[in-house]
Amino acid sequence: MKTNLAIKTQNLTHTVKTAADDLTILNDISMSIEEGESVAIVGASGSGKSTLLGLIAGLDVCSDGDVLLYGHNLSKLDEEKRADLRGQYVGFVFQSFHLLPSLTALENVMLPGELKGDKDAKRKATEFLEQVGLEHRLQHYPRQLSGGEQQRVAVARAFASSPKVLFADEPTGNLDSENGKMVTDLLFGLNEKQGTTLVLVTHDASLAQRCSRQIMMSSGKIIESLGKE
């Protein structure tokens, strides 16, 4: 087992200003995730799961404490550098898919590569779409695809940037169990094949079960961290 740390947080606290007063969403969270792990963040609605995911993925900076992504302290970086890190290390899958409506399935998957200036983006994208079983839907627009198909395109797009960590916020939340299972299988399959670290937020107990670790949150704190073994 590798012991490289993918993610580490130290006393992570996140406060947002609201009209009335300051609201502490995350309170003094310290934890670490090793490379190759698959971690499920679970907890009640409003407990701060999405916020934590966003912060450790470098989508925003926490108001206090540190977040280290492969040794890079995100709090000390500006958005420019954080975006670079995201491009290098991170992939996302969202509950509402977030495919670009003006791009075809193929173009959506090509986009991360194109942003990096990868000349081979098209070939790679085609391969990933084949892997998610959508080789016959390359030229279709998101509105022509079902939810499950859209999410598979999103998974292909996430893996197209060859991320070291893949973050997923309720990837099966909008799907029926059959499509949900198909997407989950894809995520774990690729996780194994490419050694990708997997961090996902879910309400789906069976999905959480398949992860090597579960982090349970409540009111902005981690109340339990369960290993599989």
């Binding site: 966003g54 989508l59 925003d60 491009g87 991170v90 942003l115």
Partner: protein, 820 residues
Amino acid sequence: MLAVKLLIREIRNGDVLTLLFALILSVSTVTGIDLFVDRLQTSFTIQSATLLAADRVVRSNTAITNERMEYAKEQGLETAQKTSFSSMVFSNEGLQLSQLSAVTGNYPLRGSYLVDDDLFGAGYSVEDGPSEGDIWVSSRLASLLGVGIGDAVQVGETDLTIRHYLVRDPGSTGSAFAIAPRAVINQDDLLKTQVIQPGSRVRYSLLLAGNEDALNQYEAWITPNLEKGERWRTPKSGGQGINSAIERAESFLLLAGTLAVVMSGVAMALASSRYVRRHLTQVAVIKTLGATPKKIAQLLLSQLAIIFLVGTGLGLLLGWLIQEVIALSLASLLSTVLPAASISNLWLGMVTGLMSLFAFCLPLLMRLFDVSPLTVLHPAGKVQLKSLQLYIIALTGMYLLMVVYTGGLLLPSIMIAAIFMVAVAIGIIGYGLFKLGRVLTSGAVSGWQIGLASLHRRLMGNLFQLLVFTLIIMLGLILIGVKSSLISDWQRQLPVDAPNHYLFNVQEGEVKQISDIADNLQIPVSEWYPMVRGRVVQINGQDADLLYTSDDKEPELLSREMNLTWSNELAEDNVLLEGEFGGNVNGLSIEEEVAKEIGLKIGDTLGVKIGGLDYQLPITSIRSVDWSSMRPNFYLILPQSILSDFPANYVSSVFIDKDNVQSFYKKMADFPTVSMLNVGDLIQQIQLIIAQVSQAIQLVLFFILSSAVLVLNASVRASLDERLEEGALLRTLGASKTLIRQSMLVEFGFLGFSAGVIGALAAELSLFGLQVFVFELAPSFHPLMWFLGPMTGFVVVSIIGLYAGKSVLTVPPMRMLRSL
């Protein structure tokens, strides 16, 4: 290049196209109107130049110096000369004092002579003046002398042959009073006649034609060193009536262009905010994929640059086509061909494109740079699109654009004030509705409160839409209002039976006889005015000669002998501005403009020299005079008690229609000392220009109103996303098509109707400002607008709304939901 690739993919989506269309609309409207106005202006200049017989004229009481001519040659200007003087013309049967002009062979430089070979004929045009040995005489002179074509007449020491009857001398229509029948000869015969002796009253003209730069150069050189008795004349200093018509038409077209600017600003802002709203999440997603802010900015800005280039290019092209179409339809309506559009004027369209992007698009687009990637997880983190700052930037941009466009501050300020008024009014109405909603629903069950929250959200959207509708309706109404008051003002000023001949030098005993002749032919005669010549020599006891020593600054009132009259009643085209007027007032009445030139007020005294006698008279009234009415008008009106001691000539004006011209002219041959001046050509010219201008502004109005409908359409569509969502939801819940159609009709109908009412109010107020400050017309109330505004608002907005919303009703709700 990635930006291009992404842009091309985006185009399939339509949002970019909306933005592009808005830009094309902005650029093409502004370009089209600007090019067209430029063509009209050039056309007016050419027509005015026709009246001047040249582009510019130096007029002098002494022979034109060589220096003047040399400089013209240096500047590459074409020159011609004309010498005007009065002289006896002799025939075998008699003699007649006539107004003669001697012209160089190339005169006129602009326009043409109208001559005929039949007495009192209508005339055909000839390019050049008479050849050596020839003379062209007016039909009136010919009949007075009892001669015809081919006969010889004698001018001074030389014999000349009559070649044509002179119908119109292009350079003479502007001069107020000719003294006698006319004739024109060649400049080379002038010396031979030996009529010009030291001390003769002669007017010399140097006519200039050429390109605008050279003319301006010449003007800059000559105006500071004009000698005593020299005058610089431009087409603008020509006929009064034409100038005010043209100036107002230019103001109208400028106004139209300004409104086009406002409208296209609205269109751009609408399209941009729609674009940005639909791209917020997309940009956030791209950011999660590792696009740095720099990369995002680079992508969006290069896309914007491409949109600018393509949109501006197509806009310029379309604008050019549109003005070409307007000009062509104008040509077929009036059988006049406008001069070609000048390509150098396209810069304004480019500036419009650029400013539109900077003021209406870029500030909104920059919000996209700041979108937090977190938006993908929390829609709450969305950017606020409608901020005060954005409105200020947009309004400032609009204002600057209008300033660039009109080259002045007045029109833009009035427009911005009007827009501001409308915004405030709508703000107040919206606030009232919102409060009302709160009051009605306070303490209601929680379902109501949720409903209220969404109503509030919708209320803001609806208010914004109301603002846009109102602005567009207001702009349309303003244009319609200005157009109709301009056209009716012109028609009032120059009715078809405006006098077209002046009669003067009429002796007291002849007045009755001539009136009888006119009555018999059913020719309307305006009032007869007695005319005595006199000169203003003192102002408040000081010698006028000492007050104004440098000659070029000498005010009109002091520069020459004046025609004085008396009258007990104010003429119908005069307006008493100050003081008292009437038979029992023992003072003089002065015309507004000449009084202003010297700064004369009621109570100042003028010393007037009449027939060798001096009179000191207080100013007792100030009048404004409508110089374009073609009736005799006077700078000074004196008490009858003073003037009646002097021998007077009478002057009047008549309207003679085509059928009566010959008979009247023939009858007038019995009054050899009476002079007639035909201003029919001048009037015709003015009427042609006015017809042209009226047609032009109708077309421009039509054009602007059509683009107004386009913008209305865009604005309805901008709100469609939300409505589509709602409509689809309602239908999945089982609402019938009729129900949805009814609710949309109520919503749009109400919006359109309210916009019409507020728009009519705002238009009425703006029209007041425009009429008083810009067009210098009497302010008027426009009842029609109060009907037109709400009606068109209701009808047009409902139709567009229902049409645009058709997809809500026809597309299966399933597909609708999926495409959202």
